[in-house]
Symmetry: C2
Subunit: 387 residues, 2 copies
Amino acid sequence: MMQPAEVRPFDMRLIQRGARLRRSPYFEATQRYGCRAYTVYNHMFLPSYYDDPVAEYWHLLEHVTLWDVSVERQVEITGPDALRFTQLLTPRDLSRCRVGAGRYALITAEDGGIINDPVLLRLGENHFWLALADSDVLLWAKGVAMRTDMRVEIREPDVSPLQVQGPKSRAVMEALFGDRVNDLPYYNFFETNLDGIPLVVTRTGWTGEVGYEIYLRDGSRGVELWERIMEAGAPHNIRPTGPSDIRRIEAGLLNYGADMTLDNNPYEVGLGRLVEPDKEAQFIGKDALRRIKAKGVTRKLVGVEIHADPLDLNETVWPVSSKGARVGMVTSAVYSPRLKRNIGYAMVPVAHAAVGTELLVETPLGAAKATVVTMPFVDPKKQIPRS
Amino acid sequence: MMQPAEVRPFDMRLIQRGARLRRSPYFEATQRYGCRAYTVYNHMFLPSYYDDPVAEYWHLLEHVTLWDVSVERQVEITGPDALRFTQLLTPRDLSRCRVGAGRYALITAEDGGIINDPVLLRLGENHFWLALADSDVLLWAKGVAMRTDMRVEIREPDVSPLQVQGPKSRAVMEALFGDRVNDLPYYNFFETNLDGIPLVVTRTGWTGEVGYEIYLRDGSRGVELWERIMEAGAPHNIRPTGPSDIRRIEAGLLNYGADMTLDNNPYEVGLGRLVEPDKEAQFIGKDALRRIKAKGVTRKLVGVEIHADPLDLNETVWPVSSKGARVGMVTSAVYSPRLKRNIGYAMVPVAHAAVGTELLVETPLGAAKATVVTMPFVDPKKQIPRS
């Protein structure tokens, strides 16, 4: 078992004053298992790492990891018009999303700006969950609903997801939930329970590795669920970690708030495929997005390789220039230990977005040359060996 | 000057992964002046303390303190219907708020629940700022606006407030802005500049002490403004600190997210005076709040004195019971060094809300008796000596 005998719990006073920010149902377990840093996401604490992030990255690639991502708060939409209303919120075509399936979806504003990029689950004909990135979509949805004639209820249910990610995650999930895990297509889910703990199990994750999420539906049973998973995972070398930025950048996955914000539209950040505007359905931002698509975007988020010594994950955006003029910024970048390169994303004008374009990036290690490259950095079909 | 020669900057990796959370225009100065902990508020870093919070409390009571509260993000509402739209958002009567004045205001949902408790400033007939507590009112306001016929623009401007609080704040502000500071009534403001730095100066704050806020309108000049204030404050013993929870609890001030949330209405948390429903104006929540007022609330936030050894500020809510049954929770509590008592707030059923009621509170130091008392704990008219 991973549980060291003498773990000094993280001093929460370094991040917390008072009871304003919420703790997850797994919080006590994350402290006991030696979480060394938390960040804040959706007004809650998110465990960042228990060990060196590079060690956690290798563990994710080779074994299986357990993440407390309760911060993926849900917005639940029910009521007779829930389908029509949820469709109003997103450019995904929900008429093709059957009960038991989910979608990676964008929530867009009237001008096409991105409000959030949740995983959407359809639990019933008129029953949806949005597992949110870091913005108060509950307020957005309530504001939008107020003046429609649609009969919907919008609330935050008692639901707290965990991610189980890595090549051995399938074996752990099979030990917990049996064969049905193997038949589960990507972005599908089933409802179940474990020793009476009510759960939703999805084939989703933020890694590009084989992975699952377990949505706990009873916050009072968080630690019990956590220990049950750790027990089932012990033969497979499971360990608690934070989300891996190295791995998600390798996979070309975006982090809302860093790589895309309300100021970006889906086409700028390479998520145009999530806009399905040819369908009949009305959704917020439809006209704006149609215009943007027809006109073309002026800037783009591109993959970059930064030619420098190994870089730690950026803590601020890094200025990008071309021929002495500032043209854009790096939004995420980090050294990939297996690619042995610094990889990341840069938001640049389309004139500088072609693969092969040379740029200059101001990093904490000094100015460094960078090259625009194709994404993702790691082909999901191809396994890359450790050395 | 307060600036020690050798300050080891706070390790941001303890709270940050990547560039998702924003740094304030004063961030570099807060690091240089030795900020020892940050929390997160409105997707930004908020300096919590530079020294022991009790030492910072005494400094606030006896001298003057400078706080980086850039996290009070603004929602700016302009356009021909800005007055009517802003009125729609709040139960305050804005017809009585003239240009140059502000209000402590609530933003309420359709069911009367509290979405936020900003300071509202009226900069023009149809020009408003909401200086926000920790929730995405930008999304709420945009959602509400979408389906009205009102012509408004809603955006987050480049505005970053500082608080200058404490008995010597008036002298510091006079040194910076001259006599006009002395004539400024509570919740009023003026627009000005300092060496060309565009500012709004308000007579507001989160302390119950004499205090001001300086709203910077050009994020590129944050550090320059900070140093200018530190220089003017040097003869008055100014020092950078975090917001003081001890002082704000003494004053009976509430912290959104802890002492009130979307699940609370104004009457429950003692803010019924901010609902002015007899006026003609339409606002969101008007019908619900009228019903709640007529019916009476079922629970109330009350002042409590907790009879125990000195308690650190609570990090979670503390269960409250009466005769063996759980009846409520303490939302904020801390030891007041000058009152020499543990003081705080508890949300309890009205049957347990009368002054003098005895309760039992589960604190980290064990179960402790508590008594319901009147608020505020410190009369704003009365100075309480240090010993």
